[in-house]
């Protein structure tokens, strides 16, 4: 891949994140304003909406155009760009803001991600965008598409589906354990593996607890040129890598594709590690926030992101490698499992955990158990065989 990246050119100097959940009390407007104001407050020094030169708004289904943010925040005479890229929408907003600052076009920019999902009147996420079609598109839910990983992985690596059941339960239990220690999470209870395994089935062998919930929420990040970072904060996060791939959908029609890997994710991971100069992610990263939309997704991601060798993620999961305090904590904030998934907000919510953890602001009960200086966030959107993938890496030190 030809991306050169913008390592150490831009820094995140302020962040905000609302509590995620069934926010019947708040609209998208309120959530955006809350997240933005928290980001301004985190910087202090009189930074407010007027300080920001340009805005990037990520939302998949809660509004169109920059006006969606400009009106509630009342930003006057400023460029506000609306971006959408499936579940990578929030990360895409950050990418836009970071690249704009690194280009020199602006001194300070803000990325805001929001989704108001719970106004649809339906349980679960309902399709974003209603493009008129010829009626031949798949009507399958994401749960069903991702459920096909389980038998495929079982067959390829000779792991009994009953054993995989324990692996998936471990992933769900781990993320709920972490989420129980996070006041911003939607679900704040630990869940036993017995409950997880006994839950009603949604699609394939996936039960309710194998699926991420649905939630409303917003998060925001302020970015400036790296050399200006210390004017705003003592503890900036330097952007090390931002990598995006939009798949061609080839996996859906390629008989060689076997539903045990996401090539788009592997490509973004490789690109991001190259941009950041990371060679051993499992031992260089302090933590990773990954897109655990479904438990088998997280299992496969451990391999695609290079945290585990091919065919070994299931063992590593059971061994606790990715638990809080494990070798590489994954989803220390509770992940999509605990937060739910407001599409436009999730990428920035993940970055918010990196913000807290790397700056030493996460509560002790969510301690990572290591002193490393880099964090990774990852989103994917779409389906096995046809997805967008996004990997970000940030760090507390230049170089």
């Amino acid at each position: 891949m030809a991306s050169k990246g913008i390592k150490d050119q831009v820094a995140i100097v302020g962040m905000g994140c609302t509590k995620f959940g069934e926010r019947f009390d708040k609209g998208a407007d309120d959530l955006m304003v809350d997240a933005s104001n928290e980001a301004f407050t985190s910087i202090g020094n009189g930074v407010d909406k007027n300080t920001i030169d340009a805005y990037w708004l990520g939302t998949a289904m809660s509004g169109n155009s920059g006006i969606t943010l400009a009106r509630p925040l009342q930003v006057e005479g400023k460029p506000v760009t609306h971006v959408e890229n499936y579940c990578a929408t929030g990360s895409e907003a950050l990418r836009g803001a970071a690249y704009a600052v690194s280009s020199g076009a602006y001194d300070i920019a803000m990325a805001v991600g929001v989704e108001k999902v719970k106004d649809s009147g339906y349980q679960g996420a309902v399709g974003a965008g209603k493009v008129p079609t010829d009626g031949t598109d798949r009507t399958l839910t994401a749960a069903a598409m991702y459920s096909m990983i389980v038998p495929a992985y079982s067959k390829k690596y000779g792991v009994a589906e009953s054993e995989l059941r324990d692996v998936l339960a471990h992933i769900a239990a781990k993320n709920h354990y972490n989420g129980a220690r996070n006041p911003r999470a939607q679900f704040r209870k630990e869940v036993s593996t017995e409950t997880i395994c006994g839950a009603p089935k949604m699609a394939g062998s996936l039960g309710v607890f194998d699926c991420a919930g649905v939630a409303d929420g917003a998060a925001a990040a302020v970015v400036v040129r790296a050399e200006d970072a210390h004017k705003y904060t003592d503890k900036p996060l330097y952007v090390k890598a931002l990598s995006l791939v939009a798949g061609t959908g080839a996996g859906l029609s390629d008989p060689e594709y076997d539903y045990t890997t996401f090539p788009e994710v592997a490509a973004t991971a490789e690109d991001a590690y190259r941009q950041a100069g990371v060679t051993d992610p499992r031992h260089e990263l302090a933590m990773a926030e990954v897109h655990d939309c479904f438990t088998p997704t997280e299992m496969v991601l451990m391999e695609d992101l290079g945290f585990a060798e091919r065919g070994t993620a299931w063992k590593e999961v059971l061994a606790g490698t990715f638990d809080l305090g494990g070798e590489l904590p994954v989803n220390p904030d509770g992940g999509l499992k605990s937060f739910g998934h407001p599409i436009g907000a999730s990428g920035l919510r993940m970055m918010f955990e990196a913000w807290l953890q790397l700056r030493g602001e996460a509560p002790p009960e969510r301690a990572l158990g290591n002193e490393r200086k880099l964090a990774l966030t990852h989103n994917l959107g779409g389906y096995p065989g046809e997805m967008v993938s996004f990997v970000s890496i940030v760090g507390t030190e230049k170089g």
Binding site: T133, D134, T139, A203
Partner: protein, 463 residues
């Protein structure tokens, strides 16, 4: 020589055990089973399936130059239904497609008119028989389609040797447009009308063909008036051994499709030089006499009626009622799909109706669906495939949840993740063989969304 070149029946897989009706309603029902169109089938999709088998069974190079579609239960009014059949069969644009819909008699009328005119005509008949719960029509009806290719020359397997009709206006069975049920006058009245009409047409047809009743090797009497059919059959002078089974105990009476389903079945089992008599009682009597030719010895159905009759799978009565819209069941709490865009569907007619993929310019592999860079057409409707993996979706919208879904690898290349039908997840395994079938996915704003699904391959009884 003019007559039938190829013929086929299509019997949907679902069967309703008539005793289940008695158990639920407390009356009605009876013995045996009837065929039931699945929730994703209508007269158009069943007609497509019958026509596909008829075309597959026809000698190479036989292409219809006209398509006539007849049904009592059209999916559209104003708009022609035959055009969807035309598109699914990928007939040329200069082949006209006409509907002959409304009356049961229109179906035999289409066949008779085709045999008496010129050119190669594909006649498709299809019916979906409904009735109120507990009614005789509900129990005795059946859902099916049948198609015949009518033409001239050496390919004719059954030559028309005589045909006569008798017509009279009388109210015996009728339905108000839009009603789900038909009504009938007292049975005896219809019988007194049908018998003399049947006698008259029979006598004259035999005379026209220059044969006696004794010469008839297979007698088919079709009609929804069961009592008149039974009585007439007994008095035409044809021995019991020559009277064809009407399949009423297995698939029921598929109304407008019955004449061609039974005629097809007779052709599938006939030797050369046999006389087949088709008598249809519907608002009069129509008699068609055929003699099979030497060409029938080399004609073989790609999928026989008997194989399909034998492949039935029971459907619970409650599901049958919900499929027909008689019983409204709780839908999944998901948004209903939006209507199909007519202009988008029009741009993708070959893919949507014909299941025609493209070819990758780089790898030469089939691209499903075709992409803007695809080169050439790759027709996939008649290509079988293998299930690479599959799942069941309990939360997606479906008119009959849950959705069973599979990733299908097609023989000779090409893969498509696609919905399965006529299948339950418990019976499936990776590696199972599937074939494509034309179905109605859903209806929104009155527009039917036709596309293809995969279903387990039906193997013939002789392997």
């Amino acid at each position: 020589m003019r007559g039938i070149v190829s013929a086929a029946g299509y019997i949907p897989r679902a069967r309703l055990d008539r005793s289940a009706i008695t158990g639920f309603v407390g009356s009605g029902g009876g013995r045996g089973t009837r065929s039931v169109a699945s929730y994703d089938e209508d007269t158009t999709t069943m007609g497509v399936e019958a026509a596909r088998i008829a075309l597959r069974s026809a000698p190479t190079g036989v292409r219809p130059d006209a398509l006539w579609f007849s049904t009592v239960a059209p999916s559209y009014l104003d708009k022609t239904n035959a055009t969807a059949v035309h598109a699914a069969l990928r007939l040329d644009h200069d082949v006209p497609a006409f509907d002959m819909v409304g009356a049961v008699r229109s179906a035999v009328g289409a066949l008779l008119t085709a045999v008496k005119s010129s050119g190669t005509t594909l006649v498709v008949t299809s019916d979906l028989r409904t009735g109120l719960p507990g009614s005789g029509d509900e129990a005795s009806g059946g859902d099916a389609a049948a198609a015949a290719i009518v033409g001239d020359g050496d390919n004719v397997i059954a030559e028309l040797i005589g045909a006569r009709s008798a017509t009279e206006e009388f109210v015996e069975r009728w339905r108000t447009p839009g009603d789900a049920r038909s009504k009938q006058w007292e049975e005896r009245f219809g019988e007194t009308k049908y018998l003399p009409l049947g006698d008259q047409a029979w006598r004259e047809a035999l005379k026209a063909a220059g044969i006696e009743a004794d010469d008839v090797d297979t007698l088919i009497v079709s009609g929804l008036h069961a009592r008149a059919v039974r009585s007439l059959k007994a008095r035409l002078g044809v021995g019991k051994e020559a009277q064809a089974d009407d399949l009423s105990s297995t698939i029921g009476n598929p109304g407008a499709a019955q004449p061609l389903v039974l005629l097809t079945r007779a052709l599938e089992t006939s030797e050369a030089g046999k006389v087949i008599a088709l008598v249809v009682l519907a608002d009069g009597a129509d008699v068609l006499l055929f003699r099979t030719t030497d060409a029938i010895t080399s004609w073989q159905s790609a999928r026989t009626v008997d194989d399909q009759v034998a492949a039935g799978k029971e459907v619970p009565y409650g599901k049958f009622l919900s499929w027909r819209g008689t019983l409204t069941v709780e839908p999944p709490r998901r948004p209903e799909p939006a209507r199909v865009s007519a202009s988008s569907a029009g741009r993708h007619e070959d893919w949507k109706f014909g299941f025609v993929g493209g070819r990758s310019p780089e790898t030469g592999e089939p691209q499903l669906p075709p992409l803007p860079n695809s080169t050439g057409d790759v027709p996939m409707a008649d290509v079988e495939g293998t299930i690479a993996t599959f799942t069941v979706d309990r939360i997606a919208y479906s008119p009959s949840p849950p959705i069973v879904f599979a990733v299908v690898d097609f023989d000779g290349g090409g893969r498509l993740p696609i919905e399965l039908t006529d299948a339950t997840v418990e019976e499936l395994s990776m590696g199972d063989r599937v074939e494509m079938t034309f179905r109605r996915l859903f209806t929104a704003d009155g527009i039917h969304n036709y596309f293809w699904k995969a279903r387990p391959v039906l193997r013939s009884s002789n392997g």
